[in-house]
């Protein structure tokens, strides 16, 4: 009997120890070091003295860095809003598609999601740069328009000047929407799919129009899913590094780029650590918000 409990305890330890030890040694410990560093200061070139100072956090409150934080939040928020506007009809369409089409559309939404982030961003560079496809298309339309105008006896439009689309805030937002759209569509789809379709039919039967039905039946019922989608999109967009790095200009740095610079170029690790933890707190705040909102019953109807 004693050997059996011993054996069970051994089985428990064999199951519990590897993942717990791993997560402590190779995940929590590295994060804890960053946290400790955020209260330290540079002493010499490579030495860092963890003195418990709050100087790094105070420095992060300077207008320059507060501005970058505000900008990151704004860009991530705009990205999320655009994803919601673009993604909602897509999610709705997937819900109402036939079974065969639904599988294909979900696959089509997921496939770019699995394609390397770097490659997708690179693909956008080729589209947006001055001699890129976007400018070519616009030039073609410009020339057609010009030709049409000479046809009806007007002055031609003149030469087309390519737009500077790349290396701008515009490119960053386009890139972030491009990358994060699946994050929005999938939770929206999950929420809308659970919706009782007879409620929509009832609303239409009772004389409400499609837009009114959408606004007063579909949106309130799918609200937990919508909030989920908003936060699932917002969180990675807020911490985005690659998109602003490759598509942005000098003024489109987001918080992750500033962190990278502290570690790789400015060599101010304590300050970078403080910024990292501020970003983490913002992320956790957003996730806590989601947990708070999803506590309510999905069928509540009246929203939050």
């Amino acid at each position: 009997m004693a050997t059996q409990t011993q054996e069970r305890r051994l089985a428990f330890l064999a199951t519990a120890l590897p993942p717990i030890v791993w997560v402590i040694a190779f995940f929590l410990a590295p994060l804890a070091i960053v946290w400790a560093y955020s209260f330290g200061q540079n002493v010499g070139l490579t030495e860092v003295d963890i003195s418990g100072t709050f100087a790094n956090y105070l420095r992060a409150l300077q207008p320059l860095y507060l501005g970058i934080f505000a900008k990151s939040i704004f860009v991530a928020g705009l990205t999320t809003l655009l994803c919601l506007i673009i993604g909602f009809p897509v999610a709705l369409s997937i819900v109402f598609a036939s079974e065969k089409w639904r599988a294909w559309m979900l696959l089509l939404i997921m496939l770019p999601f699995w394609t390397n982030l770097l490659i997708r961003t690179y693909a956008l560079i080729a589209v947006l740069r001055t001699e890129g496809y976007a400018n070519f298309t616009m030039e073609w339309f410009w020339n057609q328009g010009s030709w049409l105008m000479t046809l009806v006896g007007l002055q031609p439009l003149g030469d087309f000047t390519p737009l500077q689309l790349l290396y701008s805030n515009f490119a960053v937002v386009v890139g972030l929407v491009y990358v994060h759209l699946p994050f929005m569509v999938l939770p929206l789809y999950a929420a809308l799919d659970r919706l009782d379709k007879s409620l929509i039919e009832a609303s239409l039967d009772l004389g409400a129009g499609h837009l009114r039905t959408l606004w007063s039946i579909v949106v309130p019922l799918a609200l937990p899913g919508i909030i989920s989608g908003i936060i699932i999109t917002f969180v990675p967009a807020l911490g985005a590094y690659l998109t602003p790095d490759l598509l942005g200009g000098p003024d489109s740095q987001m918080i992750a780029n500033v962190i990278e610079r502290q570690f790789k170029r400015a060599n101010d690790w304590p300050f970078g650590a403080a910024l990292s933890f501020l970003l983490m707190y913002a992320t956790f705040g957003a996730i806590a918000l989601r947990a708070y909102f999803s506590r309510g019953k999905p069928a509540d109807g009246h929203g939050i």
Partner: protein, 275 residues
């Protein structure tokens, strides 16, 4: 009936069709162009000048790129194997046992899914320079150890999720029957539970492999000059210029990902059928 739209057939609205076309065009046109221009017989990436495999030939003669690709595959392989063990154990732990602090442990296991990549990247950078400096004179593949460890830390929660989902369909009586028939814990695990979660292990493994192969940000902070992975190499290439070589390299990686994903979906489909 064919003329009049039923109330819920939003998909037959032309506005909806146009919207979907626009969205999928937005998602796929850049990628299609990227793949197409990897076959373009021109240095400049803008006008189509005829079909060529030249850039793929060049790719296969680029020693650095091949090494980077081999590094990526090796890292992905080892990270997957370790993630499978750690992730499966984590899933079994949370599914089978009730213990003090279980919620905390569960939350901690899922933490890598939500921590921003950049924070995880700098954490790994700090860890592997200040706490556990990875010797840089180790011979291959041990030199990749730090990257493998970093990858396991963000891959294993995905394995745990996939395996955990599969475990919910497991009938615990099967295991009890095995014990009644004289199997010990290990035998019951190996002969009853393991076959049940096998499809989830394959799906989770492929997921981990894809994630590891694709990761750039975290690797960027852990890789050194001698441990360049494929995405890190592609990054340094495209920082300099937009060339068909980068397109060709990207196409190769897209191809590998699509194959892996197709495999994963077949496996998941099989798992669902069995379960």
């Amino acid at each position: 009936m064919a003329l009049k739209r039923a109330p819920l057939e939003y998909n037959r609205l032309w506005q909806m069709k146009l919207w979907l076309f626009g969205v999928f065009f937005f998602l796929y046109a850049p990628l299609v162009a990227l793949v197409a221009f990897s076959f373009n017989d021109s240095k400049r990436n803008t006008v189509w000048r005829g079909f060529t495999f030249n850039y793929y030939v060049k790719l296969f003669n680029d020693q650095d790129l091949l090494i980077a690709f081999a590094n990526s595959l090796t890292i992905a392989l080892f990270a997957t194997l370790i993630s499978l063990v750690i992730g499966a154990l984590a899933a079994v732990l949370l599914w089978r046992y009730r213990f003090i602090g279980r919620t905390v442990v569960e939350g901690t296991f899922m933490l890598p899914l939500v921590v921003p990549e950049i924070c995880m990247g700098v954490a790994m950078l700090l860890f592997f320079t200040r706490v556990l400096p990875w010797p840089n004179n180790l011979f291959w593949p041990f030199s990749l150890g730090s990257i493998i460890i970093a990858h396991v830390s963000f891959c294993f929660p995905f394995v745990a999720l996939v395996v955990g989902a599969r475990l919910t369909s497991f009938n615990k009586e099967q295991e009890e029957a095995a014990r009644d028939l004289g199997a010990n814990d290990w035998q019951a695990f190996r002969d009853v539970l393991l076959p049940h979660i096998h499809p989830a292990l394959i799906a989770g493994g492929l997921l981990a492999f894809t994630l590891s192969l694709d990761d750039f940000v975290i690797t960027f902070f852990t890789s050194g000059p001698d441990t360049v992975t494929f995405p890190v190499k592609v990054y340094s290439m495209l920082r300099f210029s937009v060339t068909p070589e980068v397109n060709a390299a990207s196409t190769m990686l897209i191809l590998v990902t699509i194959v892996l994903m197709a495999l994963m979906m077949v496996m998941q489909g099989r798992a669902q059928k069995k379960g």
